[in-house]
């Protein structure tokens, strides 16, 4: 008797009109949460456009009068400055991604398919801890420990490879020497104090490593055991099994994880702000070893905001708008790639 009532109790609780209200209530709540995201996004976009308009519509000479770091000269007005910042942002973020992605895939594969179970759990935990370190700590560590430590390495790379345009330091002097009666002009390069795009890229790579690793690890772990065992049964080695079963299955996830990492690298402020020595006059330098040759949007906003007047703030928000557009584009591209690939990946 008593058991029967206990069993019926939950059914009674959700029966009739009350059940209906709860159902609809919950549906409403979750719909509300979804709408909040859209509204927030729309509000952010509206805010950026509205606040950026005064700077975007002002004529260059007025803007130069009011904002110290803009000049009414070719290459120094608002658009070239934004273009140069976008260029620097993309270079540094791509650099970080190029370093972080292969390492992350390697760690993820090791954790999911090579490491003994207990070690895998410990390693996963440590990687997740990396994600919990605030970016200002990375910035401090980068500026005070990391850069002085790798400066000799940067100088060595520059000396050995400065025939490559993208590994060339800044020209600090030209020396003319006489060789066999002919004048030979040699340029002297320097990486300065090492606060170059490559250093910022390496520190950013360490920062985005955890997120890429965590997502790809989860994806690799979900590879159907049947696929893996089939591959092994056909005589595949472990590497061949990974290549034939795990990676094709995990590809959309790998791309998604990489794009998440790219998103974080694009918007990272403090670490770059503290590590990179920015230009004073906008530049488009392809060399990742040239000091004072790059700057990123987020770091520039942090740098210029404290002393900015209202027009200056508007110009900075225009830069923020550019960053917003880039990150949106990156995410949409990632979505598109994932949706295109998922059809023949075996994920369904």
């Amino acid at each position: 008797m008593s058991t029967a009532t206990e069993e019926r109790a939950p059914e009674q609780a959700f029966a009739g009109p009350r059940r209906d209200i709860l159902n609809r209530g919950f549906a409403g709540l979750s719909r509300g949460a979804a709408i909040t995201i859209l509204v927030t996004l729309a509000l952010v976009a509206t805010f950026l456009v509205k606040e950026a308009l005064p700077a975007l519509t002002a004529n260059p000479s007025d803007l130069a009068d009011q904002v110290d770091w803009l000049k009414d000269e070719p290459g120094r007005s608002l658009w070239p400055v934004i273009a140069s910042l976008v260029f620097g942002t993309v270079i540094i973020a791509s650099l970080a991604l190029a370093i972080a992605a292969p390492v992350s895939y390697g760690i993820a594969l090791f954790i999911s398919h090579y490491a003994p179970r207990r070690m895998a759990a410990g390693l996963g935990y440590v990687i997740d801890l990396l994600a919990a370190i605030p970016s200002v700590i990375y910035g401090l560590w980068g500026a005070f420990i990391f850069i002085p430590a790798i400066l000799p390495a940067l100088e060595w790379i520059e000396r050995s490879f400065n025939w490559l345009p993208f590994l060339r330091g800044r020209v600090i002097a030209t020396e003319t020497t006489m060789v066999n009666g002919q004048e030979v002009v040699t340029q002297v390069f320097s990486v300065g104090t090492g606060r170059v795009a490559l250093s910022a890229g390496i520190v950013l790579a360490i920062m985005i490593l955890p997120i890429i690793t965590a997502v790809t690890r989860e994806v690799f772990l979900q590879t159907p055991v049947l696929h893996e065992e089939a591959a092994l049964a056909l005589g595949a080695t472990r590497w061949e099994m990974i290549r034939m079963a795990v990676i094709p299955f995990g590809k959309p996830g790998m791309i998604g994880a990489t794009m998440l990492g790219l998103g974080r690298a694009l918007g990272e402020t403090m670490a770059v702000f503290m590590i990179l020595s920015p230009w004073s006059i906008p530049r488009f330098s392809v060399s990742v070893l040239e000091p004072s040759a790059h700057n990123t949007i987020a770091a520039n906003i942090a740098l210029k905001f404290p002393e900015a007047n209202s027009m200056g703030v508007s110009a900075l928000i225009a830069m923020g708008l550019a960053l917003f557009v880039i990150t949106l584009a990156v995410n949409m591209l990632a979505r598109w790639i994932i949706s295109r690939r998922s059809e023949f990946s075996g994920a369904n």
């Binding site: 300065g192 740098l303 002393e307």
Partner: protein
């Protein structure tokens, strides 16, 4: 009879309390303006402006509030431009500013302030800017303005360049690349440094500006950023508030025919040797047009002067009392020494007496 006794007792008790209070007053707190003690100060005094005064301002606030517990002082380091705007909008009672008011701002100040006398500048914070370098085994170098300008413009790129060697006989300069370090954020230090280069040297091709003008060298964020970069790498040279010079090597600049190292006294001497700006608002307006090419004895013209901008008349008696007694304290020897200890500024010396005189003339109603 009974009543009389009681009144007497109360009176003597009150007298005792007063005496005790007076004792503890003179014994424990530094009273910067003993003459003001008759009118106990209270209320809130708001200022805003230059971040260069922030450190000194914190020290002044701590000491002044110690002596006048009923007073609340606020200083918002929003930057010179922001401070002047807030002052002219009437949002704050005084502004801190590294640069002088424009003619327009002088005009706005006449409408903003009570009476018809507008606003004045008082130089309360003077700080030498040091040119600092990091070369092993060398703690001092001589450089003329032209050499400094060429170094910071990337024209001289090696420490053993003939121009530097010529000015430093006997110093063993290394064959090492010079790494210039400048501020990457906008700052009054940069503005005064480039103003000095523009006026003292023909070799500096840019105008004075708070933003660094060329792509030579590397940028550090804030004074600490510059100091860190210079400290961290051999062969660097940069500029910063002298208070942060620490153990780094410092450049003696050429003034007339002498080599002058930075010093608080040298900075104060350079300011006193300068004429007042042309558009100044009467004799009370101590707005200096800094003479960067002065040859006055011992003057160090690479200096940053930060002003307090205030009205010549405050109709509100409480506001007037607060502004004048606070600024009197700031300009006093004691206030200047406090700032010197906290922020490494140069005590303004005899200028202080003059500022106190001007503050006495500030009118009410």
């Amino acid at each position: 009879m009974k009543i009389a006794t009681r009144i007497g007792a109360v009176a003597s008790a009150a007298a005792l309390t007063l005496a005790l209070t007076a004792c503890s007053d003179s014994g424990t707190t530094a009273t910067p303006s003993a003459s003001d003690a008759a009118v106990p100060l209270s209320g809130e005094l708001n200022g805003a402006g230059a971040s260069s005064q922030e450190k000194a301002s914190e020290a002044w606030r701590a000491e002044f509030q110690n002596a006048h517990p009923a007073v609340t002082l606020n200083y918002d380091p929003v930057g010179s431009g922001g401070g002047r705007t807030q002052f002219l909008d009437g949002a704050v009672s005084y502004a801190g500013s590294d640069s002088l008011m424009s003619a327009d701002e002088y005009a706005t100040a006449v409408t903003r302030c009570d009476g018809t006398d507008g606003a004045i500048h008082l130089p309360v914070y003077i700080s030498p800017i040091a040119i600092l370098f990091n070369l092993e085994g060398i703690s001092s170098l001589n450089m003329s303005p032209d050499v400094i300008a060429q170094v910071f413009d990337g024209q001289i790129t090696k420490w053993d360049d003939a121009a530097i060697v010529a000015e430093n006989p006997g110093v063993d300069l290394p064959n090492l690349a010079i790494t210039v370090v400048h501020r990457s954020d906008e700052s009054g230090t940069t503005k005064n440094f480039t103003d000095y280069l523009a006026k003292a040297s023909e070799a500096w091709p840019y105008d004075a500006s708070g933003e660094w003008a060329n792509n030579v060298g590397e940028g550090g964020q804030g004074t600490s950023g510059v100091i860190d970069l210079v400290t961290g790498t051999n062969g660097t040279i940069g500029y910063a508030d002298a208070s942060r010079a620490g153990a780094l090597g410092a450049v003696s600049i050429k003034v007339g025919d002498d080599w002058v190292p930075f010093s608080p006294a040298g900075a104060a001497a350079a300011v006193s040797a300068s004429p007042l700006a042309e558009g100044a608002n009467g004799a009370n307006d101590l707005a200096y047009k800094l003479d960067r090419t002065t040859t006055a004895d011992g003057a160090y013209p690479l200096v940053l002067v930060s002003y307090v901008i205030m009205c010549q008349q405050y109709d509100d008696a409480a506001e007037r009392a607060l502004v004048t007694s606070y600024l009197k304290y700031v300009a006093s020897d004691e206030g200047q020494n406090v700032a010197s200890a906290a922020a490494g500024s140069s005590p303004i010396g005899p200028l202080g007496t003059r500022i106190e005189g001007i503050l006495d003339e500030i009118a009410a109603g």
